[in-house]
């Protein structure tokens, strides 16, 4: 068995931890190149020691002395700051797991893509905000982009051996979130505490709210639109409360392929790590007889306008998806801080998009970052927070 070189950008986060769990299972197969974190220097140092990483990088340079101290006497190179992060991402690796959250992940993800190897992508902004720029780099470098997100990974698996030209439609499944069955009146007074209780996945506050508003699914629609260019009119969303079917692809002959599995990120991560093969995960087999039923219903875009807004932003293209993403982040933060109501999140995003049809399409990562900052200011001004 050949040893594969792997870098993990965002090693202390949830995707990073799950990746390292899987590597731990089959330690001899992997040589860890770079591990990075935002500011958790102690945890990063512990992982870098355990996995004998070549380099460990904290994005926040203020934590570099702490990292240096913790790695003292080991052969691991410690580094810090944005440039060091990008440099680490550019080190030759057979596969890079790009799992840094937010716009901070854009530059290192781009560096990993430009290497031209395999990139397992878990950074949402890379496709939502910088999709055109990133996909152009993927094309240029001949990189294999493997989606880590469970829905997109499901689609990738359902497409194996098939040509996109034969796809009739791609359907993303959505749990519907904690407010799936709430009335418009109930949604108007939904609290942050209620919004962060996700039925099927344990997640952070921001993504839990995105799941409650359905922005999460809308953003995934934009990602799917970049990853699987079959056209927006062939991309669908269906509500599937059990979250067992992760997504589906229907072909022109009437065959639909679906990927099912537990709500555990180790499944899609393992499928990326072992691609085009498979590796073991310690998860129990799927027991559909015990589950009994899988249910499906059409999404309600009146109560949950987010998916419609995301589709419209994708249709408009250019800067719109980046604007939408930034506006949503500001609105969610305001909701979590108790400053606005739940339904005001989507309203805010719609307002920002309405006043932003002047934005030029981003041609570089710098353009994306500029749009992101501008959109945040606009969202705050819409919310009268500035």
């Amino acid at each position: 068995m050949t040893v594969r070189r792997i870098s993990i950008l965002g090693a202390t986060g949830s995707v990073g931890s799950s990746t390292l769990d899987l590597i731990r299972q089959d330690r001899d197969r992997w040589q860890v190149v770079a591990l990075t974190a935002n500011c958790q220097a102690q945890e990063l140092a512990r992982l870098a020691r355990e996995f004998s990483a070549e380099v460990a990088v904290v994005a926040d340079e203020a934590h570099l002395p702490e990292l240096r101290g913790a790695l003292n006497g080991t052969p691991v190179t410690a580094a810090g700051g944005a440039a060091a992060l990008t440099e680490a991402a550019a080190r030759p690796a057979d596969i890079t797991v790009a799992a840094i959250v937010g716009c901070a992940g854009l530059a290192p993800t781009m560096a990993a893509i430009e290497q031209g190897q395999v990139v397992a992508l878990a950074n949402k902004e890379a496709l939502v905000s910088a999709g055109d720029v990133m996909m152009a780099a993927v094309e240029r470098a001949g990189t294999v982009l493997l989606p880590v997100d469970s829905e997109h990974n499901a689609i990738f698996q359902c497409l194996a051996g098939n040509d996109l030209a034969h796809v009739r439609s791609i359907t993303l499944t959505a749990s519907g979130g904690p407010f799936r069955d709430w009335s418009a009146a109930q949604l108007a007074v939904a609290t942050p505490a209620q919004a962060v209780r996700h039925p099927n996945w344990a997640m952070g506050a921001k993504i839990s709210v995105d799941s409650a508003t359905m922005f999460n699914k809308g953003l995934e629609l934009i990602e799917a639109w970049h990853l699987f260019p079959v056209g927006l009119d062939r991309l669908r969303i269906i509500v599937h409360p059990q979250s067992v079917v992760h997504s589906m692809v229907e072909y022109r002959d009437g065959s639909t392929l679906a990927q099912l599995g537990p709500s555990d990120m180790r499944v899609p991560i393992a499928s990326c790590l072992a691609w085009p093969g498979r590796m073991d995960t310690p998860l129990p087999p799927l027991d559909l007889a015990a589950l009994g039923e899988l249910t499906f219903r059409a999404p309600d875009e009146v109560r949950f306008p987010a998916t419609r807004l995301c589709r419209e932003a994708a249709e408009a293209g250019g800067a719109m998806p980046a604007l939408l993403n930034a506006a949503n982040e500001v609105a969610v933060a305001a909701f979590l801080a108790g400053q606005i109501s739940f339904t005001r999140i989507a309203d805010t995003v719609a307002q920002v998009l309405d006043v932003s049809n002047d934005a030029a399409p981003p041609r570089s990562l710098d353009d994306v970052l500029w749009i992101d900052r501008a959109a945040r200011q606009r969202a705050q001004s819409v919310l009268e927070l500035v």
Copy 2:
């Protein structure tokens, strides 16, 4: 687009008709080599004219004069009898649809396999009774065997791009048939008229009864065991009344791929005809939101012992699957004739298997045919019909 040469063995049956429907859609892509039927000479002649077949063959030589008359003045060669049938199947073709029902289909299917091209297999006996012999021929000739049966075709699609070594399990779905929810007492007095009412598929009487007893699913398990050699312990059956999920493959990483679609044979046939591409079928898209729910439950092998008997026959190997298949055919005929009760079908099969552990494994098609005849006699003697 290249023109592909196709032969259809069993052109007037249900699979044959569906195949010709699909070819009609894209007529210029296909050159029809051989069309065969058992005795429907008029219908066969009509199809041979329409599709400008090179040769038309009736298996029953008594109908050859009728076929000759109907094809008079056309360039189609008419032929009749078992040898002519096998000869037609051996004509060079890019793909052969082997859809002759019963043991009469074995020799022509074998001839098509020995050609070493692509064989779309719809003859159950080829794998159930002659599996070892057929699969050895497939191996020898380097033939691509594409399963037409909706369950096996589903599995084939779910395996695309994957290695059998990575399969954790394969699950065949079963509608459960018309007696799914009947008690043992009700089953004991079930009538032929009740048994032939299948909830999801329009089928002939024999296969409808097989669906009611679950022998159909058991025979499919034996077929799957030959087609996808992952071992009997990795083959499962699950009851899924809606028959939307046609089968599933679970991988070692916890990913399950499922194929879903309408209960229409044109879907798996189209997938064979266009393999490894896809072709259009006129079927409406899958609407899971309209369906609402998919349900699953474990099979009940006390009320429906057929799947257990089939698994045991496969485990025993050798002549046992052929014996089981023949015994089941005799028992089903007796049930349909009102001679035995519904539950006696499985009992008869079990009895024939019990008294037949002396049978030598078949090494050739002739052996298979001999075993088939012997098993029929034994079944009739068990039933005291001789």
